[in-house]
Amino acid sequence: MYDKEMLKHVLSAYGPSGREETASEVIKSYVAPYADEVYNDRLGNLIAVKKGTSGKKIMFSAHMDQIGLCVVDIDEKGFLRVTNVGGVNPIISIAREVVFKNGTRGVTFFETEKGAKETTMATLFVDIGCESYEEAAAKVDIGDMCIFAGNFVEMGNKISSPYMDDRIACAALIEAFRTMKSEHDVYAVFTVQEEVGLRGAGPAAFAIEPDINISCDVCGMGDIPNCVRMSVKLGEGATVKAMDSSVIVPVKVREFLKNAADKRGIKWQNEILRSGGTDTGAAQRAGKGTFSGCVSIPTRYIHAPIETIDVRDYEAAVALLRAAAEEKELPRV
C-alpha cells in the first residue's frame, strides 16, 4: 500500500519553476528523517543524502517544479495578463481555477471576440475577482506565478490530479528513499526548473559527480482513443527509458535497470518518448559526463490538470528505484 496522504500533500504543494521553495519544504519534511544530510543548493535543488560504504555514488532525480502561469500585467479593471511557465497549452488553460502562493484564487478565461480555439497566451487572462488595478495589485504582483488547482480523484486503479508531472515521481522517490538499503552513497535530488528547459539537474549532477544518475519522471502512453502510437500502457509497469528528445540512454544503464527489475519480479516496459526531454539528458552531460537513465511512470493527459496514472505503475517505480539503489554493481565504462 502506498502512502496516500504523503502523495496528496506532495501533489498539492506550490512550486512552479523557479519558485519551488514551498514544495521543497514539503518534500524535505518527508525525506529528512531518513537522510544523513539534507540541503538545498544555490539553484534550489533539494538534495537528501544517505551515506553508504562502497565509495560509489548513485543519484536519483525527480523534478519538483511544476508548470503554471506568470503575471506580466494587471489592467485597470483588475484582470491579470499572464505568460506561460513551461509547456502550457493556452487552449486547455481556459476555464481553470488557479491559485497563487499567498492563497489568492482566480479563474482563467479568454478574450471572446475570437473563438476559444484561437486563444494564445496573449489573449488568455486571469480573473481574481477584483474591480480595479489597485485592488488586484494589493493581492498579486507582476512576476508572481500561479498554478492550476484541481482534485485528487481515485478511479479504480487510476488516480487523476494536477501535477502528476512530476510530483508522482517525487513521491515515488520519497517512498523509495525511505525504505532503500544501499551500499552506495545515495543522493535523492528533487530538482528545480525542469519544465523550463532542464535547468536544475545539470548543476546538481555537476556538484555531486555521481557514478550513475537515475531520473524518475512521467512519460506518455499510447492507450487512449485515437492517440499517437506508443507502446507504453498504463498498468503495465514502470518504464525503462531508451530515449527521449534530451537523451539516448546507454544500453548498459538500461540493462542495469532491467536486470534489477527482473531479479525482483518488478513489472517494467520499454519507453521511447518522441517529444519532450527530461533531467536524464541534463545530468548525462553535466561535468565530465554521467551514466544516466530514467524510470518513468506512464501518464495520460500530461500538462493538463487531470494527469492520470495507474497506482500499480507507481508502486512498480518505487520498487524499481529501490532495487536500483540496492544493486551492488553499478554500470561501469
Binding site: 519553476s17 523557479g18 519558485r19 521553495e21 543548493d41 544555490r42 539553484l43 534550489g44 535543488n45 506568470c70 506580466v72 500585467d73 489592467d75 495578463r81 505568460t83 506561460n84 511557465v85 496573449a122 507582476i142 512576476g143 526548473q193 523550463v196 528547459g197 535547468r199 536544475g200 545539470g202 548543476p203 546538481a204 555537476f206 556538484a207
Partner: protein, 339 residues
C-alpha cells in the same frame, strides 16, 4: 559614460568579430583593473581583486550583424546573419570587414517588381551586399569570406533624453559595466565582456566556467514594444520608464531573492524602474546561472525601441538609472543578501 557609449556604438563588432570593441574596452579597463585577460573564445575579463563573494557583471560585446559567406560572379556578396529581420536591411548602408568597406544592401527596383514581388518581403537569401566591385575576383580583393559586416549608421543624440544608434544592444551594457569599473566594491569583482551572445549565448558559457561567480548581474539592452496599437501587456518595456528588471525570460527565471534585492535597491535609492513584462528572449544569464554547480543571476536592462535594427532608440535617463541601480546593488552589498 555617454561619450564612451558613442564610441562603443560606432565600433564594429558583429558576433565572432568583436575585436575592435574588445580592444577599446581593454585599453580603457587597464587603468582600473588588477588584471585583464582574453580567453580562447574572445571573451574579455576585467578583474578587480577583493575579498568576499565573487561577483561578475556581464555585458555582451557583439552586435547583430552579418557574416560574409561568399561572392557571386557579378561581385555581390552573400551573407549570413543572426537576429536581423530581413525587412529592415533593404537599402541600408553597411560596413564590411576589418577595413570597414562601405557597402549597400540593394533590392530590385520598384519598376521591375511584379505584384507578387511587392506583396512578399525579401528574405536574406535574396539580398546581397554591394561594395561596387566589378566581379568576383575584384570583390575578393577587398573582402574575404568569414569577415563580418555591420550597419553603417552612427550614434546620435535624439531629442532631449534619447540616443539613436545601431548596437545599443548591448553596448549600453558594456558602457555601464565600464563605468562600474571606476568604483571599488567590497567583493571579488569581475566584469566579463562576452562574445557571440546574439547567435545563441555562446561566450557566456565559458565566462562562468572561468570566473566561477557566486552572483552574476547581466547588463543588457532589451526590447521595448511601447508602440501605438499594442496593448499594455504586450509592451515588454517602455522607453523612459526606467531600467527594466527581469523576473523571467526565455532562458532564466530570476530567483525571488535576487529579483527582490534589485527592486529593494531601486526603492532605497529612489531610482525609477520598471519590470520587464515579457517572457521571451534570452540573455547571457541563461547560460551563466546553470553553469557548473549553479549561481545566482539577475539582470538590469535598458529598454530599446526598434532593437536589432540599424536605428534603435533608448533613453539617456534609463541608461543613467541602470548604471545607478547596478552601482547601488554592488555598493550596498546586496549580493550578500541573495546568497
Amino acid at each position: 559614460m555617454l561619450g564612451r557609449l558613442e564610441t562603443l556604438c560606432n565600433l564594429s563588432g558583429p558576433s565572432g568579430n568583436e575585436g575592435p570593441v574588445r580592444r577599446y574596452i581593454r585599453e580603457y579597463a587597464k587603468q582600473y583593473a588588477d588584471e585583464t585577460w582574453v580567453d580562447r573564445m574572445g571573451n574579455l575579463y576585467v578583474h578587480k581583486k577583493g575579498s568576499g563573494p565573487k561577483v561578475m557583471v556581464a555585458a555582451h560585446m557583439d552586435e547583430v550583424g552579418m557574416l560574409i559567406w561568399g561572392a557571386m560572379d557579378n561581385g555581390l556578396l552573400i551573407y549570413q546573419q543572426g537576429g536581423i529581420d530581413p525587412r529592415v536591411v533593404v537599402s541600408k548602408r553597411v560596413l564590411v570587414g576589418k577595413n570597414e568597406i562601405p557597402g549597400v544592401i540593394g533590392a530590385k527596383a520598384i519598376h521591375l517588381q511584379s505584384q507578387t514581388d511587392r506583396e512578399h518581403a525579401l528574405d536574406h537569401t535574396e539580398l546581397f551586399i554591394d561594395i561596387g566591385a566589378k566581379d568576383k575576383a575584384d570583390v575578393l580583393k577587398y573582402v574575404k569570406p568569414g569577415e563580418g559586416a555591420v550597419f553603417a549608421t552612427r550614434f546620435e543624440r535624439y531629442g532631449e533624453d534619447h540616443v539613436k544608434s545601431k548596437a545599443l544592444d548591448d553596448r549600453v551594457g558594456c558602457a555601464i559595466a565600464m563605468e562600474l569599473l571606476k568604483n571599488d566594491y567590497e567583493c571579488d569583482f569581475y566584469a566579463a565582456f562576452t562574445v557571440q551572445e546574439e547567435v545563441g549565448i555562446r561566450g557566456a558559457v565559458v565566462t562562468a566556467y572561468n570566473v566561477k561567480p557566486d552572483v552574476a548581474l547581466i547588463l543588457e539592452g532589451t526590447t521595448a514594444n511601447d508602440m501605438p496599437g499594442v496593448e499594455s501587456h504586450q509592451h515588454v518595456t517602455r522607453v523612459g520608464n526606467g531600467p527594466a528588471l527581469t523576473f523571467m525570460d526565455g532562458g532564466t527565471i530570476v530567483p525571488e531573492k535576487m529579483f527582490n534585492a534589485l527592486k529593494k535597491t531601486a526603492r532605497e535609492e529612489n531610482i525609477p524602474f520598471q519590470l520587464r513584462q515579457g517572457s521571451r528572449g534570452r540573455t547571457d544569464a541563461s547560460e551563466i546561472h546553470k553553469s557548473l554547480a549553479g549561481c545566482i543571476a539577475g539582470g538590469i536592462s535598458v529598454p530599446c525601441r526598434y532593437i536589432h535594427s540599424p536605428n534603435s532608440i533608448a533613453s539617456v535617463s534609463d541608461i543613467e538609472n541602470a548604471y545607478k541601480l547596478a552601482d547601488a546593488f554592488l555598493r550596498t552589498k546586496k549580493f550578500e543578501e541573495v546568497l
